[in-house]
Each structure stands twice: as structure tokens, then as C-alpha cells.
Amino acid sequence: MFLTESDRAMLQGEAGDAARVAMELLVAVAESEDAAELLDISASHIDGGLYHGQAGLDFALWLVEGGGQVLVPTTLNVSSLDLLHPQLYRGDQETAAAARRLMDAYVDMGCTPSWTCAPYQLAQRPGLGDQIAWGESNAIVFANSVLGARTARYGDFLDICCALTGRAPAVGLHTDEGRMATLKVDLRVPDRLLDDDLLYPVLGHLLGQLAGTEVAVIVGLDHRAGEDRLKALGAAAASSGAVAMFHATGVTPEADTLEAATGGHTPRRSVVVDVDDLIRTRASLHHGEGPLGAISVGTPHFSVRELAMLATMVEGLSTTVPFYVNTSRDALTQAETTGANRAIEEFGATIVTDTCTYITPIMDDVIGVVMTNSAKWAFYAPGNLGVDVVFAGLDACVASAVSGELVTGEVW
């Protein structure tokens, strides 16, 4: 593999121990991927600040000890704690202390304490063609697909290695060729479904199962697939599959036409998705029956727009069950200027920032099922929290919250 003079200097420890180890790991991964060289990145998003046990903390503390400092603007993903609302944490104090040390370690390395899984909702976000190294599966798929920035699937550890060196392996989604769709997904559904928010996470969940690691191009979406809907689609696809990028013709920036998305090649596979496929997929996201125990929305983090929409929907209403809204501290600050947060709190909902209800103990003991509008939450929460999940649209979540009964709405 070709290394520049500065890559080699880092390998020799000239930029400190942390940069040396980061470069060693980066080169080992680049070689495992058959990369010919590394390339410069302009930004990074780090998933490593979420506490999964001692190993992640040991690594971060070791990098801090070794003088690690990020070389590019670097944001931080959700952590295990809500620093703005610390009273929400219901886990043990030992874990909380370790989680806090981990968060501090990444801030010590020069990362911005953004604590969000939706860094693409921040004002400073990458644009078309920018080479970046992002962690967090939903952020990765959004960056590639919707922003047209270029990132591979960076996991914990490798993300900070890229940030500490400013480099990434020049392979896969970083290259023109790696971004070409090899799977065509022909969406043939009644037009009215494109107006339904719920179409997008369901389609995403199915896309993940169909695509695995492949780049797909969806034909049949239009301008109604706005950023919040594409966020839901991508997050679902990156949970049920290893999807790091999709195109949607006429919607995403590298798919003005089908030919642009495929690079003029015939897709290796072509699949038709109809309303029956979507109904089956939607049903597969339900994991339980029983009384309504709680509701959780905002996975990935609610945008300012989604907070405003929820505020309008819940005006004058009260929830009868615990209702959680996950968002970023940045979106919350913006919502505070319009009063949207107050409307949501008056409804009786709990706003959670910096973390998310499916990754850390925040929810009260749930008796019954949890309702969510997030396919990603529906996918992970049963394993993480041991809860049964009912998947439905935001309007159905609000209606259920008010009545205390499960209202799931029409099934298309």
C-alpha cells in the first residue's frame, strides 16, 4: 500500500503515540480492504463515546494518554447519558461514571460535544463530494445518500483513528465506482402512500433485507421524500441490513437519472416492491401484544421540524402513558426559541437529549408494549431492553398516548 511521507512519519511516532497507533490500525484495516492508499478527510463523526464496557474506555483513555488530538472537525454521536437531564438516568452509578469518563476522553481529544446520532441536522454538515469518516450507521447512510458526502461504514475505534490522522482508506464508498447502485428497487405502490410518513421506515426496513451491503437505487419516490423521511428510510435500512448508501432517482443528489445511479451499468439484481411486500414488512416490525406501556419517538434524533410537528399535534392534549421524545441538544435549543419544547412538555412527554431510550436505562419499568414510529427502535429495543414493540405512525402514537389504548391506524 502506498503511504505518503506524512503517513510514514505518523507510523514512526513523530506525531505522538496516539497518532502512531491510530495510523497502524488504519493501515491494517486499509490493507484488509485492499486499499491502494489513504485519502484526506475533512470531517469525522465518532460513535465511540457510547459506553459498551471497559474495552471502549480503555482504548479512549489510552489515546488521550498518548496525546491524541483530532486533526479535522469532529462531532460526537449519542452517549449513554443525558447531560442536560441527568435525573433521567436509571442505571447504576458505576456504569454512569465510566460512561462519563468515556465522554470526557473524546472531548479531551478535541471532539465537539454534539451528542447526536443525527449530525446531518447540525448547521455545519458536509456536502456533495466531501470525503469524511463517519460512524453511526444511520448517519453514514444519510451522509452518503442524502448529502452526497463520502464515507465508508466506520465503526467504533476506526472512526477516531481517522479523526486523529485525518486519513481514511481510499476504497469503497469513497470512490466513484463504489457508489454505483448494483440493485434496482422498483417501488410500485399507490401514489397516496408517498404522503404517508410510515412508508419510509417500512421501505427502509425492507431495503436493508433486500440489499445487505449493496448500494441500491430506488425508483418510484419523488420530492415528497424529504430529509426526515429519508432519515427514517436510511436508519431502518442500516439496521435490518448493512446498507451504507442508497440512491433514489430524482431525489438523492447522485441519482438525477437511473443511469447516473448505476454508472450506466445494468443492475446485477432488480426487485419490484409492491404494497403487499410493504404490508408484510410493516407487520414484521410488531413484536407484541398487550396493554400500551409507553411510547418512544425520535430514533434517530428528532429534527427541529419534527419537534415542531409534534408540538402542533399535541396542543391541548395530555398523554396517559410515559411518552419519550429523543432529540439533540442542538435541536432542543432551537425548539426553545419557538416554544415547541414547552408544548411537548405540557402534553406530558419527556424530552431526552444526548442519548436515546433504546441504548441506556431511561424508561420507567414498562408494563405492556412500547409503541414507536421508528423502525430502528422497533428493531433494536426488544434485544436491548427486553420489551415488546408496536410500530405505528406519529399520529397513531399521539392518539394512543391520549386514549391509553393501542391505536395503530389503517394498514394501507
Binding site: 497507533v21 467504533d156 433494536y380
Partner: protein, 139 residues
Amino acid sequence: MTGAGFRALVEGAATGELLCLTEPLSLWGGLDPETGLIVDRSHPQLGRSVTGAIIAMPHGRGSSSSSSVLAEALRLGTGPAGFVLDSPDSIIVVGSLVANRLYGAICPIVCGTLPEGSTGAWMIDHNHVVPLQGPVPGA
């Protein structure tokens, strides 16, 4: 036959019972590092232990937190002995490399496809993957 066509993504040697995952597994949310058990309720191998096994799977899935979960499982001694992946997966590779650097854990990862119906104890050694006894399936 079995030694051919494999590429070492993380060097090392390991032996273990083969655990063929019929669907990709996200280690984060799918593997409990405290117990080494598969906890993804939608996964066909739910409840199986990965501890000491050689995991064969098409590729990783989902969360980019899986590197941490693998490293933590290897730290606790509940992790797999090694991986045979159909396609390279940097998230798994990094988890193994970091666990090696921090704790000296050995979890080799090779890329390639095992013969259909492979079972029993297997050995990974650099870029060779061989069954420890019995006839070679498909050979």
C-alpha cells in the same frame, strides 16, 4: 480445497466449533458480551453462544458499535475464537485488532466462503481454514 481462496484480514491461529450464522448478526444489540450469547430476537441463532466458536457469516450488519462489543467480549473471554466472513468487514476487523492491542486477545479473521454444510471443529491458521477431523465437506 479448504485452504484455498481464503485471505487473512486479521492474522492469527485459532480452533473452535464452527458456528454458521444463517443471517448476518449485528454484534451490537445482537451479542451480549457479558454472556457471549446471541440476543437478537429476530436472529435464527438466538440463544446460541459464540464463546470459543469460529463464527462463519456472510457479513456484519447494522450498528457501527459492533467493534466495541467484540472488543469487550474478547476482553471478558466470552468472544469467539475467530471469524470466517464472506466479505471483508472493517467493523469486525477493528474490534479484533483493538482487543489484541489492549489485552493481547487473539481473534483471527479470514475472508472466504466455507463449503456448504460445514460443521464440527475447524482451525484458522493465517489464510488457511481447515476442518480438524473427518471428511472435508464438499471436497
